[in-house]
Amino acid sequence: MTRRLAIAAVALLACATTAGAQQAQTMPDWSGLWENVGGTPDPSGGFNESLDWVLTHLEWSPPNNAATQAKVDAMQAGERKRLDDVAHGINPADAFKACTFGYPGLMLDTPLMFEVLATPKETVLIFSSREVRHIYTDGRKHTPKDELWATPWGDSIGHWEGQTLVMDTIAVKDPYGPPDGGGSVSAFGDVEGFLTLGILTQQARYVERMRMIDPGHLEDQMTIIDPASLTKPWHMRRTYQRVQHVKRMVYEDCDGEDRNPIVDGKFTLAPPPSYSSQPGAFATPSAAPSAPSPAPSPAKK
């Protein structure tokens, strides 16, 4: 009897292992680094793309209802004035440092790069701003209402339809909006240009379908459902291309030292101190370090 149980256990384990392996084999390989097409950085500190290009070439068309559009119009008027002010050397009023992009902007229009780690139970999107999206695909439901609060990244679950990851996200708020506000959608371009296009509520639901359309591109089809702010679901498509020149994740350190402190109401330059040693002077091992030798056994007497 014991032997039969043991055999059955081994058989079950083998089946489970095989099933797991098969499941793992069906996971797409989206490894590598990706960046938003339309949000490539420029060495000068801005986007390679102009704001006009971003507005023209990326899919936006926000179906805002009248109340939302009135808010958006007010925001845009301020943003256009701000852009004009900056062009004339006038500082933005009461500016402060902010380091979080938040969702859905992370997917729609950022200059960040990101990795996608797809596993059977969870897919993780890791952005170079050190923001992370966790998409749980283990069959769970959204976090119960009594345990849920809105965050800049929301609460995400998902499932796989073949090689397409279907994501469902709720409870999103703009990182710099009011506590009861929802997420927002903005277009960015040039060095200073941005325009708010959508102002959503915390009741908004975001459905995405992400897939690889060719070896060099991922695609994300996003639909935002928010009857309180939109007249109909808002659909947008974004593509991501492989990052060039760099093969490892390099993070931003936005929380680090401030190179542009505001002095007497004006932005200034504050270069970092000189290096005691120059970058690139690190010793690079030619091979991975070998495992440490085991401690010698005590000598037998």
Binding site: P43, G45, P92, F96, C99, I199, E257, P271
Partner: protein, 129 residues
């Protein structure tokens, strides 16, 4: 600073007046209507977060060398465009095109340039321009 994940600045007024306040930075200290070309010798290439700086010695009209601080974007963005921490070295002779400071001080925003090995990465002309 830019929305490019470096230090970003947003207008508090915008945050208070609406629900959506996009994160942002400001290059308000640079005169983006002007481009100035400077020539000099690299003192330091300071590859640090959140922004990289080129410290360059430039002769003024009296022939006296003065130190200029040229701000770039973050290391994360620079490596993606092909820059390395060793792209510029102390002693390199370079020509840089910058947006100058509004206040006339010795600084600016990097746009493009030429280094010891030819054109530096960053000349405008990518998608959308």
């Amino acid at each position: 600073m830019t929305r490019l994940a470096r230090c970003m600045f947003i207008a508090l007024a915008a945050m208070l007046t609406a629900t959506a306040a996009p994160a942002h930075h400001s290059f308000a200290m640079f005169d983006q209507t002007k481009e100035v070309t400077i020539q000099g010798t690299i003192k330091d290439f300071r590859w640090t977060n959140p922004h990289v700086f080129i410290q360059i010695m430039v002769k003024n009209d009296a022939g006296v060398e003065e130190e200029w601080s040229i701000e770039m974007t973050s290391p994360e963005h620079l490596v993606r465009t092909g820059w390395k921490p060793t792209t510029l070295k102390p002693g390199d002779k370079v020509t840089l095109v910058i947006h100058p400071m509004h206040d006339g001080s010795n600084g600016g925003q990097y746009l493009s340039g030429n280094g010891p090995d030819g054109p530096l990465i960053g000349t405008k002309g990518g998608a959308g321009r």
